[in-house]
């Protein structure tokens, strides 16, 4: 009898734990979803983001090291060049070696990873990359407001970071204050890949995009590339950056974090 009660209690306990785990995957913040006006909007209307989970921190060098240990095809010397160009993980000393700065960089965000590699990592963790709108929605929050993209001080702070060159080694993740969603470092640390980065229709000739794009892109110029807020230079810089990328690029300040559906 006693044993049975104990078993039931234990079971209830574990059930409770797993419900909690389901509600809040490890290291992720629940994003309640909402409506906002992204910088480049494909429609006249605002965009609604459904609830989802987002990593509180960008993926670190140490975490990515675990991934390449478990997945040899993503090691530097094995990776197919179609999925990652030459600079892939170039700041590491070797396939499984963070180098002499290992202590310093293990908790810093991993960079020099291609979109394909970021995507493979997310899949390995049972996650995915956030969509552009999900990322922008979370990034438009300051530490006390969910939508701060019209907040001059907030925008200027973001802009200031974009204006500064990279530090020699990236600081570790999670040093600043989280935003209202409990997510860290959406600004001020690195650029981040999103799942659909290649939906940004900015070409090199940004000034003529409206007309010239029709040659490059079907249906563009009608509504595809209408900026909703020309003065939001911070977001403008982000979109221009995404526009310059291809999926196999490895860039020194470009990393990622993962998302997960709300299920």
């Amino acid at each position: 009898m006693n044993t049975w009660i104990r078993v039931i209690i234990l079971n209830l306990f574990f059930a409770g734990l797993s419900v909690a785990a389901l509600a809040q995957p490890d290291g992720m913040a629940r994003i309640e979803g909402g409506t906002f006006m992204p910088f480049y909007s494909s429609t006249e209307d605002s965009i609604t983001v459904d609830p989802f989970y987002l990593d509180k921190f960008a993926v670190t060098n140490a975490e990515f090291l675990e991934f390449v240990k478990a997945n040899p095809e993503w090691r530097r010397s094995n990776v197919k060049s179609v999925f990652a160009e030459d600079g892939y993980l170039k700041h590491w000393a070797g396939d499984l070696d963070l180098g002499s700065d290992a202590e310093k960089i293990k908790n810093s965000p991993v960079t020099n990873v291609s979109w394909f590699a970021a995507r493979a990592y997310a899949q390995w963790r049972g996650k995915r990359l956030p969509t552009l709108y999900e990322w922008e929605y979370v990034a438009s929050a300051s530490h006390d407001k969910p939508l701060a993209s019209r907040d001059k001080e907030f925008v200027q702070k973001v802009l200031d970071w974009y204006s500064r060159p990279n530090p020699e080694t990236l600081p570790r993740v999670g040093q600043g204050k989280p935003n209202v969603h409990g997510v860290y470092d959406m600004h001020g640390l690195i650029w981040e890949w999103v799942q659909d980065f290649n939906t940004v229709f900015i070409s090199g000739e940004s000034r003529g995009d409206q007309g010239e794009l029709k040659q490059f892109y079907c249906a563009a110029g009608s509504s595809a590339a209408s900026e909703t807020d020309k003065e939001n230079y911070a977001a403008f810089l982000r979109f221009a950056f995404r526009g310059s990328l291809e999926a196999d690029y490895s860039v020194g300040n470009l990393g990622f974090r993962c998302a997960k559906d709300n299920q």
Binding site: S42, T43, S81, W115, N198, V200, Q215, Y217, C218
Partner: protein, 216 residues
């Protein structure tokens, strides 16, 4: 400025490029990717028989697609022929009909021999509506033969991955429409990007010339 010297300059450059490509078919490849791919061409031909796709081959993806008959297809099954690929959607009323027409024009400029070594691929970016049945109807309406045309329906993530590999951008802009790159890509027999026509109004001559070189 006076337009005449400009025209002459463009002509002169065209002639120069023409002359170059006579010697070296790889020279006129334009995008960065293609340059990288070009280095691998000889390499690729050597490895033709082996199982493993080459490093630059898009056949490294493991995604599974449905053709117009609902049969499961891996991209690797396209290996061995030169592929001319476009990512479009069949309900498109803007550029896609034009892209298809251009692909047909390219086809018409190939010899019988070259056509045997070439296949045309249409990948839908609208998988919800472009189900195999729709693709089958679309193919018969447009007289896209079995022997030279492959139409593919795939999962959202797989489409996104292929678009990333081909440098194609696309985005759903309404319930019925997409905006997307007007790119036509030529893959060599190993599935490496060998040439791309990026703009609608670009002359099809370079792409035809490329296919001719790749099929020979």
């Amino acid at each position: 400025m006076n337009i005449r010297p400009l025209v002459i300059a463009i002509l002169a450059m065209a002639i120069m490029f023409g002359a170059c490509s006579g010697n070296d078919g790889e020279r006129e490849q334009q995008s960065k990717k293609q340059m990288a791919a070009g280095d691998h061409t000889a390499h690729a031909q050597m490895k033709m028989a082996s199982e493993e796709p080459t490093d630059e081959s898009i056949y490294n993806v493991s995604s599974i697609w449905l053709n117009r008959y609902g049969q499961k297809v891996k991209l690797g099954s396209l290996r061995g022929k030169v592929q001319v690929v476009a990512m479009v959607y069949t309900h498109c009323e803007f550029a896609c009909p034009r892209i298809l027409a251009d692909m047909k024009r390219i086809r018409d400029r190939l010899s019988e021999e070259e056509l045997k070594a070439t296949n045309f691929v249409i990948v839908s970016i609208d998988p919800e509506r472009d189900i195999p049945e729709r693709l089958r109807n679309f193919a018969s309406e447009n007289e896209l033969s079995d022997t030279n045309w492959t139409l593919l329906n795939g999962g959202q993530g797989d489409i996104l991955e292929l678009a990333a590999l081909l440098g194609v951008k696309y985005k759903k802009i309404s319930e019925t429409d997409f905006t997307h790159s007007n790119i036509i890509t030529v893959l060599n027999k190993e599935g490496e990007v060998a040439h791309q026509r990026k703009k609608l109004d670009d002359d099809p001559t370079p792409i035809v010339k490329n296919i001719k070189v790749l099929t020979s």
